[in-house]
């Protein structure tokens, strides 16, 4: 089944567990995938593309083994398949330079500092996915109950 993916890239399993569980409210509509490093994330993206799934949102830690989160996001932003994907950095450790780079070159939309508050996380994810869905999906109704319903409906009314 074709779905929109939320991809969490985080190398520490405990943090990953927490992040994935905090995203549970988006479960019914979105598929949540986790990856532990950049290479793994690439595998997930490849599989998703092969299955016809789109990646709506990437939540990425900065300090990853192998490749920095910001560098990964910049690369993904240059690729057509993930250009429209909303990108959020979730970290406590990215320096100002890296963050600026991510904003300028990776179209970084948000920066979540660890430790995150679930309410903030939900609000940000909801917002970002609403943006993504409004920009990229033809059918908005399936997302009304999970995402920002009023915004989606207003967009629908304008269609």
């Amino acid at each position: 089944m074709n779905q929109i993916l939320i991809l969490c890239i985080e190398d520490e399993s405990e943090v990953r567990d927490a992040l994935v569980r905090d995203l549970a409210p988006f479960r019914p509509v979105f598929r949540i995938e986790a990856a532990e490093d950049a290479a793994d994330a690439r595998t997930v993206l490849r599989e998703a593309e092969a299955a016809g799934d789109r990646v709506g949102l990437i939540l990425c830690d900065h300090l990853l083994p192998g490749q920095r989160g910001v560098d990964l996001l910049i690369e993904l932003h240059r690729e057509p398949a993930t250009r429209a994907t909303r990108k959020v950095l979730i970290t406590g450790q990215a320096g100002l330079d890296d963050t600026i780079r991510a904003i300028n070159q990776a179209g970084l939309q948000h920066y979540i500092a660890k430790p995150w508050q679930p309410a903030d996380l939900h609000a940000i994810v909801r917002n970002q996915l609403t943006d993504y869905v409004m920009a990229n999906e033809e059918e908005l109704l399936p997302y009304v109950s999970t995402l920002d319903g009023p915004r989606l409906l207003e967009a629908l009314a304008k269609k």
Partner: protein, 495 residues
């Protein structure tokens, strides 16, 4: 020449000086009619500088000196080089003295008024020649003396400049020493704070770790008392003991299960709670007397609690380890040296730098080391500086070797080797220098300060800190004696 019509002043120049002078005095005496001699005691002033003079003196016996008063001090220009004639410059510049003249020893002078001298020279051509010759010699001597004086001034200036440079250097060194002091003071304060924080963290983290453990036990007991309790207890125990699996493995397991069950949602749900096969779920469902979907949901509840507890325990353990490392790292303020294994300090440092070591392959090649007698974490700052430098050089990516070995000399060696680009030869000589700049009143430290501090510490302990570097391999080596010298060896600034 007597008898010659036109004597020239150079006539007397071929004569030896005493004879020339004696003949001149004789001629003058003869012309003036042997006037009485003037005598001065030693130290008496003959004339001051810049005064009107109407006569000059022929020094017959004793010694005078010519001087000028500069900034309240008598600066002597001529003493050996005065010559026989005193008041020459006044005579030459008509009546004004340039130098002042003072008797050094008791002196005997023949005073000749300028007008008398003029008359004598006009009337006695022989005298004119003699006088001219004496005058020329005298002037030449004085002139040489001036050149000497000039040379002296020059060399004095040079000495002065050298001294000034020396002073500036000393001042800079003093400032650097002060910066070092401030830095080590800061480190000491930080160390104290770190130790304090570590101590404060100890209690809550102990409580958290224990509480997680209790919760696990209580949950096990509670689960056991529920219908189907054994299933839950077993599942909980398994969840609590579960090792973290990689996301790759999870996806593979899910794909496998999806093929087996034909239901992707079910598969992902099962993998999440650690069920690998459909048969397992069916078994659980049978034991619980529930439908598989129901059983899955019930199990999922237990799994979530178990996974959360497991994560708390694991993270609590990590914090405990970190706190432990922090405490032993920050022991720099211990008053007395004690037997220490260098490898502990290295491990603590590596633990605390773990956040920068994620992409670094750390190879600990620990050879056997006898314990060293040092103060707690004294060397930790050295390890930190060296490892941080290595990480900076490698841009946090590459291979870091930490090797310890006991040397045949009885010293111990610690190598911190990075796979970075190496130190350019032109910088190599200067890396241990204190390099810092002051800008807007703030001291900014370059790379050098860390190494300078490290070398200071190592030197104080009677060891050495050296570096060998080539591209791809930079090896900082610290050697330490088994027991440090009782008295700190003098601090070395620049090698």
């Amino acid at each position: 020449m007597p008898g010659s019509e036109h004597p020239v002043f150079t006539d007397g120049l071929h004569l030896p000086e005493p004879e020339l002078e004696a003949r001149m005095i004789r001629e003058l005496d003869a012309f003036l009619g042997h006037p009485p001699r003037r005598r001065l005691e030693a130290g008496a002033l003959l004339f001051g500088e810049d005064v009107e003079l109407d006569s000059l003196w022929i020094l017959l016996d004793g010694q005078v000196r010519l001087f000028r008063t500069i900034q309240g001090q008598e600066v002597v220009f001529h003493s050996q080089t005065v010559g026989r004639i005193v008041g020459l410059l006044a005579f030459a510049s008509r009546n004004r003295s340039f130098f002042a003249c003072r008797a050094v020893t008791p002196v005997t002078l023949l005073e000749i008024r300028f007008e008398d001298l003029s008359r004598a020279l006009e009337s006695n051509p022989a005298l004119l020649g003699l006088f001219s010759a004496v005058l020329l010699r005298s002037m030449a001597r004085r002139n040489r003396r001036l050149v000497e004086l000039q040379t002296e001034v020059l060399s004095l200036n040079q000495t002065l400049a050298a001294e000034r440079d020396q002073l500036a250097r000393t001042l800079r060194e003093l400032q650097q020493a002060q910066a070092l002091l401030v830095e080590s003071e800061k480190m000491a304060t930080l160390g104290q704070i770190a130790a304090g924080v570590a101590h404060e963290l100890n209690n809550p983290i102990a409580a958290i770790a224990r509480a997680a453990d209790f919760l696990g036990q209580d949950l096990q007991r509670l689960a056991g008392s529920m219908p189907g309790g054994d299933v839950f207890r077993e599942h909980l125990a398994r969840t609590l003991a579960q090792k973290p699996t990689s996301t790759r493995e999870q996806r593979e397991a899910r794909a496998q299960l999806a093929r087996e069950t034909g239901d992707e949602t079910l598969a992902s749900r099962m993998v999440e709670i650690g069920l690998a096969h459909k048969a397992e779920l069916e078994e659980v469902a049978r034991q619980l007397a529930q439908r598989p979907e129901q059983a899955l949901e019930t199990l999922a509840g237990f799994h979530q609690v178990g996974a959360a507890l497991r994560n708390i325990e694991r993270c609590a353990r990590r914090i405990t380890d970190l706190v432990q490392s922090l405490r032993s790292y920050a022991r720099a303020d211990e008053p007395d040296p004690r037997e220490t294994d260098l490898r502990e300090g290295l491990d603590d440092t590596l633990n605390l730098l773990a956040h920068r070591l994620r992409e670094v392959e750390v190879d600990r090649q620990y050879g056997d080391l006898p314990p060293v007698s040092i103060r707690g974490g004294e060397l930790n700052q050295v390890w930190t500086n060296l490892i941080v430098n290595a990480l900076d050089a490698m841009k946090n990516r590459g291979r870091l070797v930490v090797r310890t070995e006991a040397l045949p000399s009885g010293h111990m060696a610690v190598h911190i080797i990075d796979s970075g680009p190496g130190i350019p030869p032109e910088h190599k000589a200067r890396i241990f220098d204190l390099q810092f700049t002051t800008r807007q009143g703030r001291v900014e430290f370059g790379l050098g300060l860390g190494l300078a501090i490290s070398r200071n510490i190592v030197t104080r302990l009677g060891g050495t800190l050296t570096v060998e570097s080539s591209p791809g391999c930079t090896d900082f080596c610290v050697t330490l004696p088994r027991t440090p010298p009782v008295r700190p060896v003098p601090q070395e600034t620049t090698p």
